[in-house]
C-alpha cells in the first residue's frame, strides 16, 4: 500500500506581476542594437569625409535632410536613454537600502529620462535647417534669404 502524502506546503502567494523579465530582455536587445547604432554614428561623424572638422550646423542639417539619419538618431536616442535609465534603476535598487530613497531616485530617473526623450524627439522631428538667419549662405539651395 502506498502512503498518500499531500504537498506539504501550498504555493507561495503571488506577488504583483512585474516587468523584470522584460527589462532584462530589453537590456540585452537594446545593447546589441546600440553597439551598431553608436559605432555607426561615431564612424560617420568622426571618420568619413573631413572627420571631426566637418561637424557643424550644416553637417547636422545635411544628415537630417535624410529620413534615414532621422530614424537612426531617433532610435539611438530612445534606446540609449531607456537602456541607461533602466541600468541606473537597477543600481538604485541594489544600493538604496531605504524604500523611500529608492522611490525618489527611481521617480527622478524616469522623469529626467522622459524629459530628455521628449526634447530629443521634438528636435529630430521638428528640425528646421533654416532656423539660423544666415542659413542661406551655407545652405543656399535649401533656405531662402531672410
Amino acid at each position: 500500500m502506498s502512503v498518500v502524502i499531500e504537498q506539504p506546503k501550498s504555493p507561495r502567494s503571488r506577488k504583483a506581476a512585474n516587468w523584470e523579465k522584460y527589462g532584462w530582455m530589453y537590456m540585452r536587445a537594446s545593447g546589441a542594437i546600440l553597439l551598431i547604432l553608436i559605432f555607426g554614428h561615431l564612424y560617420v561623424n568622426l571618420f568619413v569625409g573631413q572627420g571631426i572638422k566637418g561637424i557643424d550646423f550644416a553637417f547636422v542639417a545635411g544628415k537630417w535632410a535624410n529620413p534615414f539619419w532621422k530614424v537612426w538618431d531617433g532610435l539611438m536616442l530612445w534606446l540609449a536613454l531607456i537602456h541607461g535609465t533602466n541600468g541606473m534603476r537597477t543600481i538604485a535598487n541594489d544600493y538604496a537600502e531605504r524604500p523611500m530613497v529608492r522611490k525618489v531616485l527611481n521617480y527622478t530617473l524616469w522623469i529626467v529620462c522622459a524629459a530628455l526623450i521628449i526634447l530629443g524627439t521634438l528636435v529630430i522631428t521638428t528640425f528646421d535647417p533654416c532656423i539660423d538667419p544666415n542659413a542661406s549662405t551655407y545652405l543656399p539651395g535649401v533656405c531662402a534669404v531672410k
Binding site: 502506498s2 506546503k9 504555493p11 512585474n18 523584470e20 532584462w24
Partner: protein
C-alpha cells in the same frame, strides 16, 4: 616522492615525520548581545600544526583560551555546512580551510558571514536564508505515486548533477552583494536548489518554480558577479545555474 619503495625497504619500521607546528594570530570578530558592546576584533595567538584547519584553531581557542567563543560546527568535514564563515575576507568553510594555505605571516581574520543578523560571535540568524529555500519548494512534486522508485536515465540525472551538491551552508548567498542590500533577493542558494528540481525529469512542477523565481526579487536581480561561484565550498557553478534558470524562464518551461 621521498617514500620510494627502495627507502621503505631500507628501513624496516617506516618513520613518520613529525607534523611541523607554527604560531598564528587569529583576529576573531566578537559580539555578545548581552554585554551591550558593539562588535569588536579580538586577537588570539595559537600554535597549530600543518594539518590543522581554521576550525581546529577555533576549537583550540574555545577549549584552551576563551570558552565563551561561539560558532557553529557539526561534522567538521565539509559535509554538514554548519561552519561557513568569512575568513580573510572570503566566505569559506572553516573545516575545509587549511591554515597553512592562508598567509600565516599575517593575522587570519575570522568573522561571521555577511548579510544575516549576527546572534553571537560567529553565529548568524539563518532563518531568512532558509525561508528563501522553502519558498522555491525544494522537494519532488509528482502526480503519480509509484510503489517502486522512479527510473531516470543517466543523461537526465547528469542534467542537474552539479546543483545536487549543495549543503546549504549559505556561503554563496552571503557573498552576494545584491543580497547584502536588503536581504530581499532569493539568493544563489535558493536558486541552485530550485535548479536542482526544475531540471529533474521526474519533477512536474518546473513551471511553478519558474513562476516563483520570475519574481521582482528573483533571478533577474542577479548581476553575474560570480561571487557565489567563487565562494561555493562544493565547487558548484552557481552563476551558471542561475543563468540556466533565467533561460528556463525565458522559454517558460524546463
Amino acid at each position: 616522492m621521498a617514500n620510494s619503495p627502495a627507502v621503505l625497504e631500507a628501513s624496516a619500521t617506516p618513520v613518520i615525520e613529525e607534523v611541523p607546528s607554527f604560531n598564528v594570530t587569529l583576529f576573531v570578530r566578537r559580539y555578545n548581545p548581552e554585554d551591550g558592546r558593539e562588535p569588536y576584533w579580538q586577537d588570539f595567538d595559537v600554535t597549530v600544526h600543518g594539518t590543522d584547519r581554521v576550525l581546529d584553531a577555533l576549537h583550540k581557542i574555545k577549549w584552551e583560551l576563551d570558552g565563551s567563543l561561539t560558532f557553529r560546527r557539526s561534522c567538521a568535514h565539509g559535509v554538514c555546512g554548519s561552519d561557513a564563515m568569512r575568513i580573510n575576507g572570503r566566505n569559506r568553510l572553516a573545516c575545509k580551510t587549511l591554515i597553512k594555505d592562508l598567509n600565516i605571516n599575517e593575522p587570519i581574520y575570522v568573522e561571521p558571514i555577511k548579510g544575516l543578523e549576527v546572534e553571537k560571535d560567529l553565529v548568524v540568524d539563518m532563518n531568512p536564508f532558509y525561508q528563501a529555500y522553502r519558498d522555491v519548494q525544494p522537494f519532488l512534486i509528482a502526480s503519480d505515486k509509484p510503489a517502486k522508485e522512479r527510473l531516470q536515465s543517466p543523461e537526465d540525472r547528469a542534467r542537474f548533477d552539479d546543483t545536487t551538491k549543495c549543503i546549504l551552508c549559505a556561503a554563496c548567498t552571503t557573498s552576494c552583494p545584491v543580497f547584502w542590500t536588503d536581504g530581499q533577493y532569493f539568493g544563489p542558494a535558493a536558486i541552485v536548489n530550485a535548479h536542482r528540481f526544475i531540471f529533474d525529469s521526474r519533477d512536474e512542477a518546473a513551471e511553478v518554480r519558474i513562476d516563483i523565481l520570475n519574481d521582482k526579487e528573483g533571478v533577474w536581480r542577479c548581476r553575474t558577479t560570480f561571487n557565489c561561484t567563487e565562494a561555493c565550498p562544493r565547487g558548484i557553478q552557481v552563476t551558471k545555474a542561475i543563468m540556466e534558470v533565467k533561460q528556463a524562464i525565458l522559454r517558460g518551461r524546463r
